[in-house]
């Protein structure tokens, strides 16, 4: 299916992005040649159009909906370590030439870079090129939100507040570059969220769940997925009603499968992005080939999983995404690269060049980052802990790439006592040191799970959708930021 699919994607995207402005290959060549007239190593044009919608139910009514359109083109010129960048929010030749002139001004006029003939790059076909906005009639979207709201309110009278939202986007991109790259991608993305508040004896607690990916809205109807999110949000809120104060201090921690993989994203992932390592300012800099995790740990960044939120057929520089093994059996074996950092470090792009939009410069970014499964039964892992914390759900996290210190905030956790799961405890932040924490992984479960499709990663002010995952893990020491002396 690969090549014919790509061809049709390119034609569709060309029709949507370039035809309205009457832009043909001739005009694009003209812009590229204007850039290549300077002393540059590389230049690219990134055309994008995003159609997005969202629907919100709150207080039992469909409160609002919005429809958003954003179209534009980003122009980048690269020379050594320098990048010049400009963009225009209308795709028209004059604006494009002006942006190219501004981006190119970072380097002087000089010997012309020879521009390679454009060849369509091979990409994956990991998701269908559908526009999710049209996959449901408006009435169906609204009805789904109402049904989920009514369902969860009827299920438990302690529910006092429910917000349900449905969002979808149809993102089409096209990249042309002086290195001959020509690639396009049609990227559907949908999301369903439920957040609610329960009240019991004057105590209020919240619960949240959601999911999505690169498909259309029918996903939320299969197996009552949307209703399951509501069940999950309620379950979490009710557990929080019973939660005791969390303990404080270092202890053994068992992390549940799936979304707790945010640990890997923060503790390892960011530190292995090419830009920080090129500059030598990551806690992992200069450690290629060294042991940075226990032998049980093999961690990959995989942009090729079908329909996942973090997946891409091609990255934002037109390079097909890859299954990149970052750490193999504890040994650091690869950094994630975009074209620019790869060139400067003398390696190949790993298909991790991503950008928030046409108005942002690409950088090395993660896609779906997860740990491969091990051999332990998850029950056995919990049974092995005498006293510790079992953390199964998390909010977000953050990392200081240079010092390696990272945090991630548990939103659902339990005490473990004598190998048994005990009382739920309140959310607490966990803190550790990236290069140490994985050396303390002493058991890895056989239950690899990926998250439900809710991750958004922020870096230098740019947000991109990502995925995480992991099997159940036992970490022999992490500092738990509770309020109770343990």
């Amino acid at each position: 299916m690969g090549f014919s699919m790509m061809t049709s994607v390119i034609e569709t995207v060309r029709h949507d992005l370039l035809d309205p402005a009457g832009l043909t290959d001739n005009e694009l060549q003209r812009v590229i040649h204007q850039l290549a007239g300077r002393r540059i190593d590389y230049a690219d044009l990134y055309f994008q159009s995003v159609y997005a919608e969202s629907w919100l139910l709150e207080d039992g009514i469909i409160k609002n909906g919005s429809f958003d359109i954003d179209r534009g083109v980003g122009v980048r010129a690269v020379s050594g370590e320098k990048s010049g960048f400009a963009y225009a929010d209308d795709i028209m030749l004059p604006a494009l030439l002006q942006a190219a002139s501004a981006a190119g001004s970072i380097v002087k006029q000089g010997k012309e870079l020879s521009v390679k003939a454009w060849t369509k790059l091979p990409g994956h076909a990991l998701y269908l090129p559908v526009n999710p906005i049209y996959s449901f009639a408006e009435e169906e979207k609204v009805k789904l939100l109402q049904r989920v709201d009514r369902y969860i309110r009827d299920k438990d009278s302690r529910v006092i507040q429910v917000s349900v939202s449905l969002a979808g986007e149809y993102d089409t991109v096209m990249v042309v570059a002086t290195d001959g790259s020509l690639a396009a991608d049609i990227r559907p993305l949908v999301r369903f969220n439920v957040s609610l508040i329960v009240e019991q004896n004057g105590r209020r607690e919240s619960g949240y769940s959601g999911g999505g990916g690169r498909f259309d809205y029918h996903y939320f109807m299969q197996d009552d997925t949307a209703f399951q999110y509501a069940d999950e949000a309620l379950r979490q809120a009710l557990i929080n009603l019973e939660a005791l104060d969390a303990p404080a201090g270092p202890m053994q921690v068992v992390l549940g499968p799936g979304w707790p993989g945010v640990l890997l994203h923060e503790a390892v992932g960011h530190g292995l992005e090419g830009d920080f390592n090129r500059k030598g300012i990551s806690a992992y800099s200069g450690r290629m080939g060294q042991r940075v995790a226990s032998e049980l740990c093999t961690i990959v960044d995989d942009g090729t999983l079908p329909n996942r939120r973090g997946s891409l057929n091609v990255d934002d520089e037109g390079v097909a995404t890859q299954y990149n093994v970052l750490i193999e059996k504890g040994k650091l074996c690869r950094y994630m690269m975009d074209k620019r950092n790869a060139r400067l470090m003398g390696v190949q792009s790993t298909g991790n060049g991503r950008r928030e939009s046409y108005a942002h410069l690409p950088m090395p970014r993660m896609t779906n980052t997860y740990m491969l499964p091990g051999e332990s039964d998850p029950n056995e892992i919990i049974a092995s802990v005498k006293k510790g914390l079992y953390a199964v759900n998390f909010g977000g996290g953050q990392v200081d790439i240079t010092s390696g210190k990272f945090v991630f905030s548990a939103s659902e956790a339990y005490l473990i006592e004598n190998g048994k799961i005990g009382a739920p405890v309140k959310g607490a932040t966990l803190i550790g040191n990236g290069p140490d924490v994985l050396t303390k992984v002493s058991m890895v479960g056989n239950d690899l799970k990926l998250d439900s499709g809710v991750g958004t990663c922020g870096k230098d002010g740019q947000s991109v959708p990502v995925g995480v995952g992991q099997p159940t893990l036992r970490v022999d020491e992490l500092t738990v930021g509770g309020t109770k002396s343990s």
């Binding site: 409160k63 429809f67 359109i69 270092p250 500059k279 309140k426 509770g482």
Partner: protein, 448 residues
């Protein structure tokens, strides 16, 4: 190197035309009310590293948001394109959506008598006539000076200079149209220092609406260098309950949690631990929190809020008691109250400073933790539970002893507010929340 994009942000007249076009189109399509918000900006940023320019980015953004109301049903659309056909399409999309939304009794524009028809002209726009070349020179010079401060400074992660000219417009079908220009200029220096295996990163920055109020390059370079070097050799401390000082930059985040907890959106969703706390004592009696929306040159100033309502000097806390929530038209209606002109947020929220500077606060604390950096987002506004990663300094006898890292601080926001011991005179005016450092009686610190 010449900035080739010489055309200005769209002129005021052009933006007004866009607004009128959208409102007329909404009316033509039968909407009873409509409103439009336009944010346009233009500027550039440069980053230097290793003695040369690394990136030059030219920015020019427009975001146009339209909302239409059919009775109490609403629909919205946004776009980045100001061409008439695109604007009309967006209005049509908003009208289409309003067919499927429900009647919401709280929906709709502000009452006409609440609108700021005679809003004041504030002095918020001060163009920085700096060229890209000059900005690059400044950034390179800042890096050079920073690297000379201490031989343990290994490199700069980045030194950046940026400037942006913006224009904000709000108009609605009650005949209100208001707009004002604003500027923002920044210089930041991020450094990495290394000693043995220990590598640390820290930064300094200056930001202002008026370029004459920016700190000097030398000041930024020196401060960034001091901050990064003093973090070397950081240790963990033992888990214990100790007094804590939030350095002014981090105290801002603490007050940010207060702002979120008194914001209408969280209150009507019952998602705030300060629900039903009006006229109740939240802080010690010395605490006074007020906003000053009309300060000249301040980045948080605005003559009217996102609903077109005239901003005012709201007092939120006086004598430690909660005097007012922060409401926009919508959340006020939901709560059966009146708007406080806080749709879109607060404006230069200021906590009345105490008499002691940071050194004085450290003396008052004697022994405890000075927090200079926080990580993660572990504040639960529904319950007030608070747990975040931190780094800073261990203090004994009122003096800094050594840097600490890889710790968490935890408590309940209610208790932290109630047990605020003092606010420093070292007010940081770079943000929309203006505060000195804040001393809290006791928090749980988890470390080794």
């Amino acid at each position: 190197m010449k900035n080739d994009i010489e055309q200005a942000v769209l002129s005021e007249t052009q933006l007004n035309e866009v607004a009128f076009l959208a409102l007329n189109e909404a009316k033509r399509l039968g909407a009873h009310q409509a409103e439009i918000d336009i944010a346009a900006n233009k500027g550039f940023s440069v980053v230097a590293r290793s003695g040369d320019v690394e990136t030059v980015e030219y920015n020019q953004d427009k975001v146009i948001e339209v909302t239409v109301y059919f009775g109490k049903r609403s629909g919205s659309a946004s776009l980045s394109d100001v061409r008439p056909e695109a604007i009309k399409q967006a209005v049509e999309a908003a009208v289409h959506i309003a067919k499927y939304t429900d009647e919401d009794p709280a929906a709709g524009l502000a009452d006409k008598d609440e609108l700021a028809f005679n809003y004041p002209k504030l002095s918020l726009a001060h163009h920085w006539p700096i060229t890209v070349e000059k900005a690059i020179e400044l950034a390179i010079q800042c890096e050079r000076e920073a690297l000379q401060q201490d031989k343990r400074i290994m490199s700069a992660e980045s030194v950046s200079v940026s400037t942006v000219d913006a224009y904000s417009l709000y108009a609605n079908s009650l005949g209100f149209i208001g707009g004002y220009p604003e500027t923002r200029h920044d210089i930041s220096c991020v450094l990495v220092a290394k000693e043995g295996d220990d590598m640390q990163r820290d930064y300094s920055y200056t930001t202002a609406g008026n370029p004459t109020q920016l700190e000097s390059i030398s000041h930024i370079a020196k401060e960034a260098a001091e901050r990064v070097v003093r973090r070397l050799g950081a240790k963990r401390i033992a888990t214990a309950k100790v007094p804590v000082i939030f350095y002014n930059e981090e105290a801002r985040g603490l007050l940010g949690s207060f702002v979120a907890a008194i914001s209408g959106g969280n209150l009507y969703r019952k998602a705030s631990f300060l629900l039903d706390h009006l006229n109740k004592c939240i802080f010690p009696s010395f605490v006074h929190l007020q906003e000053f929306p009309l300060l000249p040159d301040a980045l948080g100033s605005a003559p009217f809020d996102a609903d077109g309502v005239a901003t005012r000097e709201n007092v939120f806390i006086d004598g430690g008691i909660l005097q007012s929530y922060a409401l926009g038209v919508y959340s006020a209606r939901k709560l059966g109250m009146k708007t406080t002109a806080n749709a879109g947020g607060l404006h230069n929220l200021t906590i009345r400073p105490g008499n002691k500077d940071l050194a004085g606060l450290l003396k008052t604390m004697g022994k405890g933790l000075l927090i200079t950096e926080m990580m993660g987002s572990g504040a639960n506004l529904v319950t007030g539970d608070y747990s975040r990663g931190a780094a800073g300094f261990w203090v004994e006898h009122g003096e800094i002893q050594y840097p600490v890292h890889e710790i968490t601080v935890a408590g309940k926001l209610q208790d932290m507010f109630a047990h605020m011991v003092d606010v420093g005179s070292d007010v940081d005016v770079r943000g929309n929340i203006r505060t000195g450092s804040i001393l809290i009686e006791e928090m749980m610190v988890a470390g080794s």
